[in-house]
């Protein structure tokens, strides 16, 4: 597929190395949201180096949404980011969902396919939220087994993202970062590291976010997310409707010092500002990435 001059390889398959980014790890991207279609296709988003689309919004849909996604894919790399794969649930894996997801993947040929390490529904109902998992051996094995089956079905590795959470289960046997690292190793999958989510959880559950980052196996991390959140007083709420705050920028720099740069996405899902405001944040992302690259921190494979 022609990607408008940007270097995009074939879709990553199971037998390729976990991290295979060179200069492409320096890219900065935005979410592909209808609110910005007009600006994007009006030529105002040239400097955005990739777009990430919400998988479910294009899975069973023709019409304008799919038309625009394919139009974008002809110009730039597109990543597919799901919110309903329901990895951690006790429900059976939804075969119908997987078939539909695979059809979209075949059609769009995304560079990265990701979803969240959480549960999003039970008893056949999707609740459209990212609910926390108990960090216990049983749910770890459960996730490993399901991610393996998903990857077998899709014929490619997926990336799982760490989610924001507001509650911890009493039964937890390990820390969140241990759980994520173990799941990724067990399922031989990739990690989408959301740096805002690490920060939000570090405040909500009182831990050191750097400890979290240090523990994550960098050779499995293929993408970063950055976003804003809302301060609720007693805790932080991951709303994706504010600019990125300083502690998250700092943690982003720390992460790159630890494991190098990766394609980095700014997530904005509500209270959409003018595109120019997001582009200003995006330029800052790019500046930080290039700063780290210049220091020789481009890619560290542990």
């Amino acid at each position: 597929m022609n990607a408008g001059g940007l270097s995009v390889g074939p879709p990553i398959s199971m037998d390729m190395p976990l991290v295979n980014f060179t200069q492409s790890s320096n890219r900065a991207g935005l979410g592909f949201r209808p609110f910005y279609y007009k600006d994007i296709f009006g030529g105002k988003a040239q400097e955005v180096e990739f777009f990430e689309a919400i998988t479910e919004n294009y899975m069973d849909t023709g019409g304008r949404p799919l038309y625009y996604l394919e139009k974008m894919r002809a110009e730039k790399p597109v990543f597919l980011h799901g919110v309903s794969l329901n990895i951690g649930s006790t429900d059976e894996l939804n075969q119908d969902y997987l078939r539909s997801q695979k059809r979209l993947i075949d059609r769009i040929e995304p560079e990265i396919v990701s979803d969240h390490l959480c549960w999003t529904g039970a008893h056949s109902k999707n609740f459209f939220d990212l609910y926390p998992l108990p960090f216990i051996r049983q749910s770890l094995d459960h996730c490993v087994e399901r991610i393996s089956r998903i990857q077998d079905f899709l014929g490619r590795r997926i990336a799982v993202e760490n989610v924001s959470s507001y509650l911890l289960f009493k039964d937890n046997e390990m820390a969140e970062w241990e759980f994520i690292a173990e799941v990724a190793k067990g399922a031989d999958c990739r990690i989408l590291l959301d740096i805002n989510n690490v920060y939000v959880n570090s405040v909500n559950h009182a831990f050191n976010p750097q400890e979290f980052i240090e523990y994550i196996p960098g050779d499995r991390v293929v993408q970063y997310h950055l976003a804003g959140h809302t301060d609720m007083g007693d805790f932080l709420f991951d709303t994706h409707d504010h600019p990125i705050v300083d502690p998250v920028w700092e943690l982003f720099s720390f992460t790159m010092e630890q494991m190098g740069s990766r394609p980095t996405l700014i997530e904005r899902d509500d209270k959409f500002p003018e595109l120019e405001e997001l582009l200003t944040e995006l330029r800052y992302v790019k500046t930080l990435i290039l700063h780290h690259t210049a220091q020789g921190n481009q890619l560290v494979v542990k």
């Binding site: 479910e56 919004n57 899975m59 069973d60 849909t61 023709g62 019409g63 304008r64 949404p65 799919l66 038309y67 309903s84 939804n94 969902y97 529904g121 039970a122 008893h123 056949s124 109902k125 999707n126 609740f127 459209f128 939220d129 609910y131 507001y166 509650l167 911890l168 289960f169 009493k170 937890n172 909500n204 559950h205 009182a206 609720m232 007083g233 007693d234 805790f235 709420f237």
Partner: protein, 234 residues
């Protein structure tokens, strides 16, 4: 859902499941999850049915929405499609017929917007090659609607009182915009049969006596809105 229900009925305590958070109460944090579900489902339904929301009082809409979500309705993976089964739910639960028709109309607008259309459309010039044995194929985004109420005059001006009156229309999508226009009962019958893969001749017979001028006017309109994708011989 079980957790939400046990929480609402007061049968869940923090000591059962959650760590006491570093700051504040676990209940405030749990509310965040419970509220999030309420807010998201409500917003999604209101996006699909804006006219119905305006039509019903706030309380009636809230009751209808929460009863619908508490029913056996299939929860789709795409939040935007949560309300797809609302018209059937309304019909099974004694809603007013005019409101059901309004809901069906709004659902058809949504379905039309997202339909997988063919890239091919036929122009009026190709119309000459057809005869009474010809079969037509239409874009998936084309919907025919009928109501026993004054749906179209109500759509034009919501202050028009609902009255019993048979009305018919076509919903279509052109250049990614969904539009509609009203048609007569004969035109509706003719298009319904034709859309069902029957021949032009059979469709005309089913619609009863059809004024040739009216027919060519209707066909010209149908071609102009680019909903015909294929014409095949029998």
């Amino acid at each position: 859902m079980k957790l939400v229900k046990s929480y609402a009925s007061g049968n869940l305590s923090s000591s059962d499941i959650f760590e006491t958070p570093a700051h504040g109460s676990w209940q405030a944090r749990f509310e965040l999850y419970a509220n999030g579900l309420r807010v998201r489902t409500k917003e999604s339904m209101e996006e699909m049915y804006p006219r119905l929301v305006r039509e019903l009082s706030g309380d009636d809409w809230n009751t209808l929405g929460s009863d619908y979500l508490a029913s056996d309705v299939k929860w789709p993976r795409n939040l935007n499609e949560l309300g797809l089964e609302l018209p059937e739910f309304m019909a099974a639960n004694g809603s007013k017929e005019c409101h059901i028709d309004l809901a069906k109309f709004e659902r058809d607008l949504h379905l039309s917007f997202n339909a997988f259309d063919s890239k091919e459309t036929l122009s009026l010039e190709e119309f000459g090659a057809i005869d009474e044995n010809s079969h037509f194929e239409f874009q998936a985004s084309m919907y025919l609607i009928s109501s026993n109420w004054n749906l179209f005059s109500h759509l034009k001006d919501a202050s028009n009182e609902w009255t019993k009156k048979s009305e018919f229309g076509v919903i279509y999508r052109l250049n990614f915009k969904v539009k509609y226009f009203s048609i007569s009962k004969d035109e509706f019958n003719f298009l319904s049969v034709l859309k069902n893969r029957n021949s032009l001749g059979d469709s005309l017979n089913a619609a009863g006596p059809f004024d040739p001028e009216q027919l060519s006017g209707l066909l010209a309109k149908i071609f102009a809105i680019k909903v015909v994708t294929k014409i095949a011989a029998a």
